[in-house]
Amino acid sequence: MPKLKLGLYWAASCGGCEIAIVELREKILDLDAAAEILFWPVAMDYKYHDVEAMPDQHIDVCLFNGAIRNSENEHVAHLLRKKSKVFVAFGSCAHTGGIPGLANMYSRQSIFERAYFDEPSVINVDKVLPQTSYAMPEGQVNIPRMYNTVKTLAQIEDVDYFVPGCPPQPPQIWNVVEAILSGKLPPKGSVVGANDKTVCDECKHTRQEKRIKKFYRPHEIIPDSNACLFDQGILCAGPATRGGCGALCTKVDLPCRGCYGAPPHVVDQGAALLSAAASVADASTEEEAARIIGEIVDPVGTFYRFGLPASLLHRTRIEPR
């Protein structure tokens, strides 16, 4: 049987998805036996022009991780889509924007100013900012243009499957690989390597009916190991997050952060979580409700931690200068 031609790429990401592949551990030998990797910048020395030289749809499966932050990310996304039969958004960043997506609370200008002017360890007397193009005696130097807005892979290209997670858990990655090898894939556009039920279904904590008098940030409370973290006032994203990860975070009494993205049919994960959290605030007057809710710090950052680009509004407003 011919080997599966595999491509892997990282756009705006941390490299964790790459590590997740390596975390297959001994199964990576099975992967190597079944697949031929044609492109994997972090691990192998193929170049863009090698991809450009391939015939269209030459790559059987491309696992694309990372969000679309700059013009290079977008360019390579379009290139790999062209060259791949099956194009997979791999990991939270490609799926919903991930942590880089939180940059959508800022603009390119404000990020540059922070990084290049205001950073305490930076000395930039001439107030120099990166340029996409700069003439030097040796010639023109061009670097990719950073966008104002981080996008998900599906927002700029046609995606066949989504593998969620930050990173996707190795057992789930293996399930996806096996599904691809066996040819038993669900309809195009499906989320694979995850469950249909939320994290709560896999979580070891015991749930009660919820009546929250006070919300806590994780560092403000030592939670009871047996009781549901949400019941104790910790903003655990588990109820609004697709399961399949094995509820690894809540297993060690840390609240779920929502990295597997919205459950099926939930259009805006942050809105779902906000609705659930507020609804169970134990308040029977408007004043009490405002007081309890008012203690939630940075709701957008909390509820949209992994999915701001995928949310209904996509980003916060950039004020005119």
Binding site: T198, C200, D201, E209, K210, P239, P264, V266, S275
Partner: protein, 464 residues
């Protein structure tokens, strides 16, 4: 009422309170507390010997005569005409029950040995399919409006007291007399005491104009006294009502169009009513021997507790809320619970009979159908998506959601007979597992998308 007492299909539980209701239409469970009467109902013949023998001769105000007469600790309700016609001993007044010191002459007097001071309260549980709430009203206490000086003179009465005085079974055997036992020569009747008043109830109590006219007629008829009727409007809206108003005018009653503003008790005990006669545009001051204050009909004091008991709401006025003011005046928003009479709003006898008859016919049609038609806008949990996080359960006002544990996890289920379709669970469900039928997320979003889809016409207009 006697027919009710005798009817084989009616079990009459008097001196009892409903203390709990659970379940839902077709399957209610009601808990009733039967208060101890200290009289064995199977032995008591209603002879009244215990009443005559009761040592508490001083008596307490008789509720039935609106405080105009007294009753003893042992009594037969409704001045001996109660249904069932059996004695009851009031535990707060009875010397034996409240102080433990009495010769218990009542026990000795009873020919059947019906008196039993060891009687305890009894809790019974009834399975019923529907509930009709007919808890009536209370009268406004005129002491709340000090301008009327109620309580400062025995000749200032409220409308109910006047009714009792005028009744043949009342304290004066139907004669209209001032406190000194004489017929009054001048009587003032003041409308809207506690009604149509920003300081009391804003609403009109509907029935008082007509009974005020009746009172005027009775005074003229029984005493020949001059009657001054102080009114804002005469609401004679019903069949033959206007004609009765005409008749009372012809009987020589003086109608002063101006709200009775103040009642003054003079040093010699005489009463003075002050008002503005708006037709003449002058203030008037009239000395009278008797004042009748026609007070507002109010919801019962415990209507908030009763509402909560039956899961029904109250209107802003405090009366129980009907499902729809025009089209469903005897339904409540709780399936299977109906309203009859003045607990829903002030109304007179013909309207009450119609209202109660309607509630009864609704119950009959439910009974004859044998099944209940419920709203289709109920919630539905997709068990493939529900992970049993229990976010929704405490949110339901009707306890329609319950958790079903299974294999270390579980799912939530909806009781469609209890679900009223508010949709709050669907809005809260973080997993998107609950559908609010007929108001689904997809339907609402489709409405939004429709609103913002540029129409061909809009495009055309924009290009002009």
């Amino acid at each position: 009422m006697m027919d009710v007492g005798r009817h084989p299909n009616i079990e009459l539980l008097t001196y009892s309170d409903v203390i709990g209701v659970s379940g839902y239409v077709g399957q209610f469970k009601a808990q009733i507390r039967k208060r101890p009467r200290y009289v064995d109902m199977t032995l008591c013949t209603g002879c009244g010997e215990c009443v005559d023998a009761c040592v508490y001769r001083k008596g307490v105000p008789n509720e039935f005569d609106a405080g105009l007469s007294k009753r003893r600790a042992a009594y037969i309700p409704l001045n001996g005409q109660g249904v069932p016609m059996k004695a009851v001993i009031d535990k707060d007044t009875c010397v034996w029950l409240s102080r433990g010191k009495c010769l218990k002459d009542c026990v000795k007097a009873c020919p059947t040995g019906a008196i039993n001071f060891d009687q305890k309260e009894e809790i019974v549980e009834l399975n019923v399919g529907s509930i009709v709430v007919a808890t009536g009203f209370e009268m406004f206490d005129p002491k709340r409006l000090s301008a009327y000086a109620y309580g400062k003179s025995p000749d200032i009465l409220d409308g109910l007291q006047f009714e009792r005085m005028s009744s043949a079974t009342g304290p004066t055997k139907g004669q209209i007399l001032t406190a000194d036992g004489k017929k009054p020569e001048r009587v003032a009747i003041i409308h809207c005491v506690g009604s149509r008043d920003e300081h009391a109830n804003r609403y009109c109590s509907r029935v008082c104009c007509m009974y005020a006219l009746k009172h005027a007629h009775l005074v003229r008829d029984k005493t020949g006294a001059e009657v001054f009727e102080f009114y804002m409007d005469i609401r004679a809206f019903g069949k033959d009502y206007e004609e009765f108003y005409q008749r009372v005018q012809e009987e020589g009653v003086y109608f002063v169009r101006g709200r009775g503003a103040e009642v003054v008790v003079l040093n010699d005990g005489k009463l003075q009513v002050k008002a503005e006669d708006t037709t003449l545009g002058i203030p008037v001051q009239i000395s009278v021997d008797m004042v009748v204050l026609e007070t507002a009909m109010e919801p019962q004091r415990d209507s908030d507790k009763v509402a909560s008991l039956f899961s029904i709401s109250r209107s802003a006025s405090g009366f129980f809320q009907e499902a729809h003011p025009k089209l469903r005046p005897f339904h409540t928003n709780t399936e299977g619970v109906f309203l009859a009479g003045t607990c829903q709003a002030p109304k007179d006898v013909p309207d009450t009979v119609a209202h109660a008859g309607a509630a009864a016919s609704e119950v009959l049609s439910m009974l004859s159908r044998g099944e209940v038609v419920i709203s289709p806008t109920t919630a539905l949990v997709d068990e493939k998506l529900c992970s049993g996080c229990k976010t929704c359960i405490a949110l339901c006002p009707y306890t329609a959601l319950s958790y079903l544990a299974h294999n270390g996890t579980g799912v939530v289920q909806v009781n469609e007979a209890l679900c009223k379709g508010c949709g709050t669970c669907a809005a809260a469900c973080p997993a998107g597992a609950i559908t609010a039928r007929h108001f689904t997320d997809q339907q609402i979003v489709a409405e939004l998308e429709g609103l913002f889809k540029p129409s061909a016409m809009a495009k055309e207009l924009a290009s002009i």
